[in-house]
Amino acid sequence: MTVPSLDDVLGNPSDYSPATFAERGVTVGFTSPVVAQARIRASRHKGMELVMPNLTGGKGFYLFQWTAVLHSSTVTVHDRRLYGLIAATRVLEPGMVRRQALRAASEGLAGRRAAQRARQVIREDQEYSVLTNFLLLSRLLQTGDAAIVPLLDANNMPVVNSDIREAAQQVATDLGLTPDALYDRIETLGQLVLPLGLPWAPTSGRLRRLIGDLERFAGEAAALSALSFGDFAMLADVASRSARNVAALGRAAIAEIDRTIENDLTWIVGDWPTARKTFPGTLFWVGWLLDGWDYIITAWQAVVGLSDRAASNGVAGGSIERQRDALVDLAWLLPLMPKEVQDATAQSLNDETRDVQRRWAHAQPETLAGRTLLPAIRHNEELKAAVA
């Protein structure tokens, strides 16, 4: 076996600033510290490459090939499996990476708690998918001439009723579709809106909840900044404003999506070949926008303890040192906004984020070593068990 040189492993640092979300890459929930929360993207040459922060805290990012990572550090069986699953799909998109991460975790390679949580999330996604499809059908029935039938039971779960089939046939005929084509389009649309959930759904989708969590995190980081002094106060302030800005951009995009679904659902389903050219883009955009923040929120919540929030002054619960240390650890993960997001606040925050990330360099002298990483791996597995 040829051991790669340091240059092979580390690549060349450059003043990396992503132009697009695809260039920024998708974060992957690996458990090995050396690649934990690395971003993965299509390589210009072949296959995929990992985008990782500069380990020395200097300018730029590093690009790794997976084989180089395997040669140079200890990577868990879980991560090997997860990379294999992602590589096999050949589609790099946050939703897909999340599904593969859940699949790998559900196999138990990241521990029992992570497996149980992954299986539970997969089950919840399936239930929410069924609910979303029925809610879409229900709205179509309401907008058409067909009689409105109760579609949900007392627990907000869909009920199967022969009346629904008849009503759906009526709607399909009105839209010039066969019932099967109607169901196919509803199912496709349902899968697309699944991460957000429908605006009239009884419970919010995952990304809507994440935006709420981001806003809460922004408030807690701001309160922590106010209590602190020196460099750390600046770090907490930047983290808070970044989260708030992403939440605001997300909310604006979701409002637009909601308006489209509310007003043009019949058009979207009826003229899907046209609608598919524009509508899904905004849905995917929200997924890309929020990519990377779910880990930050989960890690933060693991430290502050959801139940211990002190309501009086908006400061999160848990030890203040642990909050501070968690935020320092998470600072290097604050996502940079690609240039394609033409938002002045976001671009100015990029500069501040880069400055903070350099100042609070994420140096892990042990990251390229071996077994001393076990506690760090277990920490990442714990977070995997808590992720939504």
């Binding site: 200890t74 090997r80 209590l227 040192e321 501070r324 320092v328 609070w360 360099a361 042990e366």
Partner: protein, 442 residues
């Protein structure tokens, strides 16, 4: 508030068994009492946990004064003279002396601190910067008068000469308090492990700014007390010395070595008092001891630390004597836990969790044994464990597969992780792939 000894014992037991959240709540209630009286004794049982949890506690003059030495406080029954620690019993005496010296300003201070907690760090630091130098001055005046006037000394400090020595020690901490507190803010919470670059930069900033031996010694003692692996901290400090002036480097290495040796002695005394331990407990001890040993070894490599070679040899022998049985006991413990797993069934999560913790500990112990001894004798024990694991894995998975494929897959995941923990992922992954292929899941 006075409560009976029996009730106090019950309360202390309940506190020690409470969850973090319950403990935080109870301590919050106790803190609200104007006079805690004997309840302090109950809290003393859980001080270690409180030090880690760091719930918001009321900010008081006593807390401001003793913040710089919070990591060095020992209860009266544990405290030993010359141990380079601080007796908790000193808090009351010193606070009274400072309150007297501050006069009416003490009341103003109390008003400013009312309703504030230890989480109001910026305020605590600001108030501390006002109080620490004046308190140091006041305590120096008390000590000067006590030296001249034996009657005053006995009336104020009692007959125990160590009290004056401790106050003298505390004065040094009060003089360096601003630097200590600022540094603590910029370091990870205690107990901290490996320091990142920003932490090392904070250390450099602090040590570049101070040049008195006393202040450096005080900060070194705080750092060693807050480090989970003091030896690793010593290595970091050793590297840092290259960027300091020759005088600063000399003072710092002397101070950190003295603090580390005192902490090492304390560890050994603690080790001698304990008896039956689990493999994870042994692994924690071994990691800490190895950390010391590695730092002491640096002497040979031209590092800055100067520790007698007898100490080094003693330390190595001590650790080696501790590790041999620890590895064997750990392997036996792991095999016993494996044997207790219900054959072909998922078993409960707690049992698997305990087994995984034990396997990690065994791996850590074996690695440290190899480092300390310079041979691979412990690997024989590890091979025996892996062989046992592999055989049991196949038995459990095939037994489960006959009834329920999902359980069999879950067990494949469990055993793959166990083997990965003890060996490595390159060895474990092909085994998992074989099992999953046989189960038609790949």
């Amino acid at each position: 508030m006075e409560i009976s000894r029996a009730n106090l014992t019950t309360l202390a037991q309940q506190l020690s068994q409470s969850t973090d959240r319950q403990l935080t709540k109870v301590v919050g209630l106790i803190d609200k009492l104007s006079d805690r009286g004997t309840l302090d004794a109950a809290i003393s049982q859980v001080r270690d946990r409180l030090a880690t949890l760091r719930p918001a506690r009321p900010l008081s003059l006593a807390r401001l004064l003793f913040n710089p030495v919070e990591d060095l406080l020992d209860n009266d029954d544990v405290y030993r003279r010359q141990s380079r620690r601080v007796n908790r019993a000193l808090i009351r005496t010193v606070t009274q002396l400072v309150e007297q010296a501050l006069g009416p300003e003490a009341e103003t201070l109390r008003t400013r601190l009312a309703d504030k907690t230890t989480h109001d760090e910026a305020l605590a630091f600001q108030m501390g910067c006002l109080v620490w130098p004046r308190s140091a001055q006041a305590l120096e005046a008390v000590l000067a008068r006590a030296a001249r006037d034996p009657a005053f000394r006995v009336a104020t400090l009692g007959r125990n000469l160590d009290v004056a020595d401790q106050i003298q020690d505390l004065i040094i901490f009060l003089k360096a308090a601003a630097e200590i507190e600022e540094l603590k803010v910029n370091l990870p919470p205690r107990p901290f492990g490996t320091l990142a670059l920003q932490h090392i930069a904070a250390l450099e900033k602090t040590f570049t700014a101070i040049d008195t031996a006393e202040a450096i010694d005080a900060i070194a003692r705080v750092l060693i007390a807050r480090a989970s692996r003091p030896g690793e901290l010593m290595a970091t400090i050793d590297a840092l010395c290259a960027r300091l002036s020759a005088t600063q480097a000399r003072l710092l290495t002397t101070a950190i070595t003295a603090a580390a040796v005192a902490a090492f002695d304390r560890d050994l005394q603690g080790l001698a008092q304990r008896t039956a331990r689990t493999a994870p407990q042994n692994a924690d001890i071994a990691e800490r001891l190895l950390s010391f040993l590695v730092s002491l070894d640096r002497q040979k490599l031209g590092g800055n630390f100067r520790v007698g070679s007898a100490t080094l040899v003693d330390a190595r022998h001590f650790i080696a004597a501790f590790l041999s049985p620890a590895v064997a006991e750990g392997v036996a413990e792991a095999i016993a836990l494996l044997a207790a797993l219900p054959r072909g069934e998922a078993g409960n999560d707690a049992a698997i969790e305990r087994l995984e913790r034990t396997l990690i500990a065994v791996r850590v112990l074996a690695d440290i044994d190899r480092t300390v001894r310079g041979d691979r004798k412990a690997e024989g024990q590890i091979d025996r464990l892996i062989s046992d694991l592999t055989v049991r894995a196949r038995d459990h998975i095939s037994e489960a597969a006959a009834r329920d494929a999902d359980t069999a897959c879950a067990l494949a995941g469990d055993f793959c992780r166990m083997i990965e923990l003890v060996k490595d992922s390159e060895f474990a992954e092909p085994l998992w792939r074989n099992w999953m292929t046989e189960l038609n899941r790949l």
